[in-house]
């Protein structure tokens, strides 16, 4: 008891500070964060959320390595498309007929047939010649429309939907939460009075303008470089690109909340799982985002002869169903991500 009393006297009252420590000059007297000069200000969670959206939007502007890769791919693809456009290789006109030994192109064949029917070199009545000319005119018209078909099949389906769209979507999406996790700066958000789902949603809202900007904007650049068929493709396909970007972004954002190295996981998913699933026969391909994106595109351009190579095998769904699936997938990924993020613990090293 006696020792307790002695101990009491050694401590500065109320602070737990040892009395034998020399007093240090006090802090500036004006230091106060407790009350503003014109009365108390009540913090607002909504205000904090909107600020987080703005802050995240701003921080997404930091161009990371993967965004540079995406921009590099855009430049390369743009150059390729521009070169093809200048060479006039989108249409079938300059391509040779199959098994054509003399190197006759589709255009040559049309001109030759036309010339023959014009000069009545072909045997038959004038009616036959007239029918012949009508057929040639139809053939020419169809030939002129092949540029959109070639552009769609080569650039849009083979290069863009299979490769560029997933890569461009993940450039910002995987880094939105993943970057904060890998950099260790997520702690600043997790210790603010914001609910975990609200943080997750704010980060998603903030990444969308960048992700959509890169994917839809990049697609528009390629279409512009493609000339007339490009314009046509942009007009038909942008809703599909937009919807696909939404779904991909939500998926990669979810990966950012779950995996320690989301960019790598997202790349693996894009190159292997998405490609594999997207090319599987039967209904298995319906597990891939690119399938629904393609279906929206097929539906939009069906009047121009754009369709799956083997429709009976591909089993496409109609455009509105595909759009609904993509939007529903976005919502599902978002909700799952919010739940996952709100339950997960993130260490600094994560």
């Amino acid at each position: 008891m006696k020792e307790d009393t002695k101990e009491e006297t050694m401590r500065a009252p109320g602070t737990g500070v040892p009395a034998d420590v020399a007093p240090v000059p006090a802090l500036p007297p004006h230091y106060s964060t407790a009350s503003p000069p014109d009365g108390p200000v009540t913090p607002s969670p909504l205000r904090a959320w909107f600020y987080l959206v703005g802050l995240s939007l701003q921080r997404q502007a930091r161009v990371g390595q993967i965004v540079w890769i995406a921009l590099g791919l855009l430049a390369f693809s743009g150059l390729l498309v521009g070169t093809i456009t200048v060479s006039g290789w989108w249409g079938m006109q300059n391509r040779r007929l199959p098994r054509s030994r003399e190197g006759v192109t589709y255009q040559n064949w049309a001109e030759l047939t036309d010339a023959l029917s014009q000069g009545a070199a072909l045997p038959g009545s004038p009616e036959v010649a007239g029918i012949n000319q009508a057929l040639v005119a139809s053939y020419r018209a169809a030939l002129e429309r092949t540029d959109f078909y070639v552009f769609s099949n080569f650039l849009v389906f083979t290069i863009f939907v299979s490769f560029l769209l997933p890569i461009w979507s993940l450039s910002f999406a995987a880094d939105s939460l993943g970057g904060d996790r890998e950099g260790g700066s997520l702690v600043w958000l997790l210790t603010r009075p914001l609910s975990r789902p609200a943080i997750y949603l704010a980060k998603f809202v903030a990444l969308l303008p960048w992700s959509i900007g890169l994917s839809v904007g990049g697609f528009a650049v390629l279409c512009l470089a493609g000339g007339r068929p490009g314009w046509q493709a942009l007009r038909f396909y942008w809703p599909a690109v937009f919807s696909g970007t939404l779904a991909f972004s939500a998926l990669y954002h979810l990966m950012g909340a779950y995996f320690k190295r989301p960019a790598i996981v997202a790349l693996l998913y894009s190159f292997f799982l998405e490609t594999l699933l997207g090319n599987m026969p039967g209904y298995l391909k319906r597990g891939s985002i690119s399938f629904y994106t393609r279906c929206m595109m097929f539906d939009a351009a069906q009047n121009y002869g754009v369709e799956p190579e083997k429709p009976s095998v591909y089993l496409a769904v109609d455009g509105s169903t595909a759009c609904m699936v993509l939007l529903a997938a976005t919502v599902v990924f978002l909700v799952v991500g919010m739940v996952l993020f709100s339950r997960s613990e993130y260490l600094a090293a994560d």
Binding site: E3, D4, E7, E8, M10, R11, A12, P13, G14, T15, G16, V17, P18, V21, V24, P25, A26, L27, P28, H30, Y31, S32, T33, A34, S35, P36, G39, P40, V41, P43, S44, P45, L46, R47, A48, Y51, L52, L55, R59, R62, G183, G184, S185, V187, W188, L189, L190, T191, R192, P193, L194, S195, E345, Y346, L347, A348
Partner: protein
């Protein structure tokens, strides 16, 4: 007779904490010029003040098969509490539990009676993390303002609070540079400023003085003492007890996920003196252990000696400070070649390491 380990786990914390006369000063108020509605809120707040600022109730936390925090019960009220322990002792896990970054696997952590994981609890906590990760592209001022705005303050108010907090950590004149260009000490100050800006009741500071020069440490000590005088609760972790001793004499010592001891340093030393402990001693020469055992039994603090089959001896003793002094005398006097000396009690090992280490 108080048991050091038991006191850390359950009832002992009450004894240790109640012995600490840390109380909220009567001069502390919440909001000035309050309306009747605010007055009601103030009364409710005051009623809630009776609840501990930070309370761990039998909290355990595992990282897979590894236990980070083991059945910790801890109650903190206004004042400064030092948290000391070696690497891996569980300090950072404990602080992350307090700030709602981690959820306990067992037990409960609450801030003023509110689950520490909740948004409401986080509003009351200021956290200065150990990790050195920032938004490097920002200036110091922008960062503190951003962190304050994330608490929901309008821009003007956030700017005012950030300015006051930067002033408090002596960074107002140096806050316009980008964070990536700051020294370790300046970064620590910025971390502290963001923790202060929203005027929290509870400050959780993980190694806040790491990388700070002696003058800066003195300033930090002054700041922490001032905050404690304002009625705030500070929990400050460090590897070095010496560093914390300048700040507070109310410390918790952690070892292997447990609070090995808590209270004033004098109380802990007193507990330690009464606490029986065992040490294992191995001599280079087999005959030496007989000589040692014989000599050591004559010491007043030695309760018993056991000869081990492995070749060493286990000594049970009390009052470690006096024992080790006398033990050293015996070894020198008998010219014994001691190859190994190990405390068999993990918690006691940690406490001894801190209380007796460094020539103490």
């Amino acid at each position: 007779m108080p048991d050091l380990l038991d006191s850390a786990d359950t009832g002992g914390r009450d004894r240790a904490l109640e012995a600490s006369p840390v109380s909220r000063p009567a001069s502390v108020t919440t909001e000035p010029n309050s309306s009747p509605a605010d007055h009601g809120k103030w009364i409710a707040d005051a009623a809630r003040d009776a609840r501990p600022l930070l309370l761990f109730e039998q909290v355990s936390k595992w990282y897979g098969p590894v236990i980070g925090v083991n059945k910790v019960t801890l109650e903190l009220r206004p004042g400064i509490t030092g948290l000391v322990g070696s690497n891996g002792a569980g300090k950072t896990t404990l602080l992350r539990l307090a700030t709602g970054q981690l959820r306990p696997d067992l037990g409960q952590v609450s801030v003023r009676g509110i689950d520490a994981w909740s948004v409401e609890a986080k509003r009351r906590v200021g956290y200065c993390p150990d990790a050195d990760a920032f938004y490097e592209e920002m200036t110091g001022r922008q960062f503190v303002e951003a962190m304050t705005r994330l608490f929901g303050y309008p821009r003007r108010e956030a700017v005012r609070r950030a300015g006051a907090a930067l002033e408090a950590v002596d960074m107002n004149g140096r806050a316009e540079r980008r964070l990536r260009g700051y020294s370790k000490g300046m970064r620590q100050r910025i971390k502290l400023a963001q923790a202060l800006a929203h005027d929290p009741e509870l400050l959780v500071l993980d190694e806040p003085m790491s990388g700070i020069d002696p003058v800066g440490r003195q300033e930090f000590v002054a700041l922490f003492r001032r905050l404690a005088e304002q009625g705030k609760c500070l929990i400050v972790s460090s590897h070095e007890l010496e560093e914390l001793e300048k700040l507070t004499d109310h410390v918790a010592i952690m070892a292997r996920g447990r609070i090995a001891a808590i209270g004033t340093l004098a109380e802990i030393r007193e507990l330690l003196d009464d606490h029986p402990f065992s040490i294992f001693v191995e001599c280079a020469v087999s005959d030496d252990r007989r000589t040692l055992a014989k000599a050591i039994l004559d010491l007043p603090d030695v309760a018993g000696v056991e000869m081990e089959d492995a070749g060493g001896i286990v000594i049970r003793a009390r009052n470690p400070r006096r024992f080790f002094k006398e033990f050293a005398g015996v070894v020198l006097e008998e010219n014994l070649d001691v190859r190994r000396l190990e405390t068999l009690d993990d918690s006691a090992q940690a406490i001894l390491g801190y209380l007796l280490g460094g020539g103490r």
